[in-house]
Symmetry: C2
């Protein structure tokens, strides 16, 4: 799945991503970087709205999981079950949310559980920063992947 394909998928499946004008800077199995301009995500203080920041962080983690799982499990369902977000610095312009794949041992545990039980959960992290590299948000989300069986009827 290319950057453009991921963007089109997000725009179609989750209309709020279009309202947020999210673009996909990087879409690989190792790293996902999403980007959004300030204007459609602005708040009363002319900084980025916390809800937008949480949303883009959620989406970057969700996308990384999706890119890793969709080939082997085309009908996998990925949902968020919990998140914790620390808003460290105000976002005053274009912002990026980066999710890097977790370490191999953690991933293997998740992957094995999904393979054997059809359901597994994993915690992923995302960082939001601005072009000047100032870190603005730390996000941790727990996601549940569920492999749905295709109905034979």
């Amino acid at each position: 799945m290319t950057e453009n394909e991921l963007k089109n998928y997000l725009y179609e499946a989750i209309p709020l991503t279009k309202a947020m004008q999210i673009s996909v800077e990087c879409a690989s199995k190792e790293i996902v970087i999403l980007q959004a301009p300030l204007l459609p995500n602005v708040n009363h203080k002319k900084t980025a709205f916390g809800g937008s920041l949480n949303a883009i962080a959620t989406l970057s983690c969700w996308s990384l999981l999706h890119l890793n799982l969709v080939e082997h499990y085309p009908h996998v369902q990925i949902v968020i079950s919990h998140n914790e977000t620390k808003y460290l610095n105000p976002v005053i312009g274009l912002f990026l949310s980066e999710c890097i794949k977790c370490d191999e041992a953690k991933w293997k545990k998740f992957s094995n559980a999904l393979h054997s039980k059809g359901k597994a959960r994993i915690e992923l992290s995302a960082t939001i920063y601005q072009k000047a590299q100032k870190k603005c948000v730390d996000f941790k989300g727990t996601f549940v992947a569920l492999v749905q069986k295709i109905s034979q009827t």
Copy 2:
């Protein structure tokens, strides 16, 4: 500030609230209830997107603080510093986010600190439920209020 005034304020200050089609069901100093339809907030699973749920919960807490503070501190700035969100059940239709004012002792501590130091933080909770009253999300947010002095120049 009436329900309509709060809605207009949110739509103007935070454009994403318009994209989410948020309406204000109740806007008082004791309780704030915001509502949104599923369609503009839907995800790939045809349930409400986690980012939308987090956003409406953040806004209901922010609005309750705003309604309590704006009379005495017309230039108060309220920002979120941290949140934790538990997604308990999928949202499959119209949803509401309710923030009820915290207990008097906690509020008084916050209020006194804001009065004496010009800055204070408080944790508020919001609950998201559907019309059938099924609880879907538990949200806790820490908000910082900052009283800005008006420039005399």
